[in-house]
Amino acid sequence: MLDKELRSMIGDVKDGRMDRRAFIKRMAAVGLTAPLANQILALGGVAMAEGPQVYKPTKRGGGGALKLLWWQGPTLLNPHFATGTKDQDGSRLFYEPLACWDPDGNMKLVLAAEIPSVQNGGLAADGKSVTWKLKPGVKWHDGKPFTADDVVFNWEYAKDPATSALTIGTYRDITVEKVDDLTVRILFNKPTPFWADAFVGAPNTIIPKHLFADYKGAKSREAPANLSPVGTGPYKFVEFKPGDLVRGQLNPDYHMPNRPYFDTVEMKGGGDAVSAARAVIQTGEYDFGWNIQVEDDVLLRLEKGGKGRTIYAVGGDTEFIALNFTDPNTEVDGERSSMKTKHPLLSDPAVRKALSLLVDRESVKKAIYGRAGRTTANFLNGPEKFVSKNTSWEFSIEKASKLLDDAGWKPGADGIREKDGKKLKLLYQTSINGPRQKTQAIVKQACQKAGIDVELKSVVASVFFSSDVANPDTYAHFYADLEMFQIPLSQPDPAQHMRRYLSTLVATKENKWQGTNFPRWVNKDYDATIEAAESEMDPVKRAALYIKANDLMFQDTVFIPVQHRLKVEAAANNLRPIISGWANETDNLHDWYREE
């Protein structure tokens, strides 16, 4: 938590009594990293400085070819139709957003001239509008100027239901207006603390009005530019074969100095993650391999004497075990896990606490995730300013046993604990996925030692994660006692992520299990905290509210966080890619270069 002293220091920087560097030094002295200190300043309303400049090349081009290997290749190149990150990654080679995210989750300028802040007048104090200034002199690849009209057009294009843009959720509830040729204003219908969704990051890049204006609405599929993008980005479009290949070449008129470094870029699709890792790390056929979800010991073996290495980016993805607060084995009005029931075993806080003590996060990390995982006690693991420091985790079979003993759960004749005739037997489900089944085995073993009988179940991923109403095996039905998976945190902001567990959003038969609160945990304090956070414009107070929300979950043991998962990529030894856990892999491509 940030106290009064910190606030007065931020005030000092704001008013010029202290310079940024001194502030950052003092923060470092109390153990905060420089990027975090920078972020605190930004939160406090001090304009964000551009991150430290790491780009070394002193001229444009001359870097030869950059060969990227995506084991799922892009299938289309219009960001508004992108069904997955692979499509966003492909279109991001050519199209650009106003700003992107750096590895620390800070905003970085791309097509915008400055980051909106309260200080520069870009952010309205009431949180209901944001004004973006555009970089002057930016040209589309065909030579036409990039202006505010293009930005406004993207909003009109995406929000039109007839266009069937998959970005409609971002643009539907906002209004975008042109102030002048190089200024746009976004109006929100309620205070919006996280205003950096529209036009920011790889999913929200901007397409040219002059090529798409005739294809807004029902004719959206027919636009020739859907297959041959004309953007503002560092590379110009050359060739596209869906699922197989995207090729680009250096844009000589690119708006950033000395960039890009590479003369051509090629993104090849297909195959699987292991062979992608091999082609980059072991044989060096490719410079970069995307999303290398491979067990760490395989990667370590490939890395021995190889031509490449793995790199990691920290985001906010948490692999967790969720606890069911309702009874999956009793049917009420034709519905299992009904809100009218209480879980016979897990409603005892001692059982939930004991289970948390029985998850050996360190062993899971050592045996499975290796460098790609971090142990954690928190459900919310990023961005850093939202991460609670008030929690801790422990693995102890003795403590768990004592806790259960004290709560009256005594081992029966078969060694399994029981109380009031109820046996401590739990069903623990997850999707089929190597690391997940291994984790299940580790947890089961510890539980057995503590006298808890755990039955394991695994469901095919395509079923487990589907929204199929008729299928009882989806994670939202949660007809088990425990279940494990992760929900990706796709923005460097927790708002979308944390509101899923409001008590109004419980997944039930009535809402066809489309509710997002699948543990069916109801806590008035949590609801009030999230509600307060969603309209809190003071960033420091807002961060404190989300930390409180996380701590409420921790106290009630709604989730047992298993690992804070990192993004894993493979890169040639001499390649210097910039990868952010908060952005797509190609979001910072203009800053990539090769060390000679």
């Binding site: 299938t75 239901p161 007839a162 998959l166 029902a218 044989t283 929204s467």
Partner: protein
């Protein structure tokens, strides 16, 4: 002869129609739709998913959708991919060269090995050559292509660093350099697929030859004093080739199917990998088109086989 070909062609049309109905119904009844992936994306409201379904005609009854498809197909419109929103014929044409090049070369390689080895082994049954050829053939068709593929990669790419294991369609350079690179990157997939095919074909050629070589007319030909080469090529091979032609012709479409595995391993952007990725993403128009092309190929190669029979044994076309 021409009447025979015409008759065969006329039979092909109802078979293709029947096949298309079956394919269409199976695909329509299969679970999952191309937009199910959007269900877990918080940014995509359910209305958008519903609008897309309506827009792409997924809510119409099956028979209407089939008639619509058939009508469009008659006019040469293959529909468009739900996933890449590109026309399906364009998508297939993009993938065709790689498939034809790699699979075609593999098939030629298989024939070049199987026919001489099979024929020679049959002329000297149970000789040392025959036994070695037999053993290798057994080993060859017992090893699946995904195993030999990875073995080749480990030996020739990782250990020896001679050959690339990722197939690229856009090799830079022109002229002889381009040709050499194209050959270099195809060596491994062609070898994997070709050797697998050759193994089973060798066995087949050998036994077909052995069947014929013992017939009386062959002995007669020898007794007349004809040279060994002439007897084998003119008298034995021509007759022994009839079952071999059937095998090769019927194997042609199957090669496309078998190539799915090889295409995945070497990242060859061919029809097989297009089919796999389309099935995984429930991209029905593409799956329909590709499987229908396979069906057409089966019918076409059957036809070719029939015509070849007529040429090899004129009695067949008279019947």
């Amino acid at each position: 002869m021409s009447q025979y070909v015409l008759r065969r062609l006329l039979i092909a049309i109802p078979s293709l129609l029947g096949i298309s109905v079956v394919l269409f119904v199976v695909l329509a009844l299969a679970p999952g739709d191309p937009f199910s992936e959007l269900a877990t994306n918080p940014n995509v409201p359910p209305e958008v998913q519903a609008a897309l379904r309506a827009k792409f005609g997924l809510d119409d009854p099956i028979y209407l959708r089939y008639l619509h498809w058939l009508n469009a197909m008659m006019h040469g419109d293959w529909g468009f991919s739900f996933v890449s929103r590109m026309n399906v014929d364009q998508l297939i044409l993009q993938r065709l060269p790689a498939t034809l090049y790699v699979i075609g070369s593999a098939q030629i390689l298989a024939l070049l090995i199987a026919i001489p080895v099979g024929v020679y082994a049959a002329t000297k049954p149970y000789s040392l050559f025959d036994q070695i050829a037999n053993t290798l053939a057994f080993v060859g068709f017992s090893l699946p292509t995904f195993f030999t593929g990875i073995l080749f990669i480990l030996i020739f790419s990782v250990t020896l660093d001679w050959l690339p294991f990722v197939y690229t369609t856009d090799i830079k350079g022109t002229g002889i350099h381009w040709v050499l690179e194209m050959i270099r990157q195809a060596i491994m997939p062609v070898a994997v697929l070709g050797l697998f095919q050759a193994a089973s074909m060798t066995r087949f050629v050998r036994s077909a030859m052995l069947d014929v070589i013992r017939l009386d007319y062959v002995t007669t030909a020898r007794a007349k004093g004809l040279g060994q080469a002439k007897v084998i090529v003119k008298h034995v091979m021509r007759n022994a080739m009839i079952p071999v032609v059937t095998l090769i012709a019927l194997q042609m479409p199957a090669v496309f199917g078998g190539a799915i595995v090889t295409e995945q391993i070497f990242r060859i952007p061919g029809i097989g990998s297009l089919l796999i990725s389309s099935i995984l993403s429930n991209d029905t128009p593409v799956v329909m088109a590709v499987t229908f092309v396979f069906a057409c190929l089966v019918v076409l190669f059957n036809l070719i086989a029939d015509v070849l029979y007529g040429w090899l044994d004129p009695r067949i076309s008279l019947r």
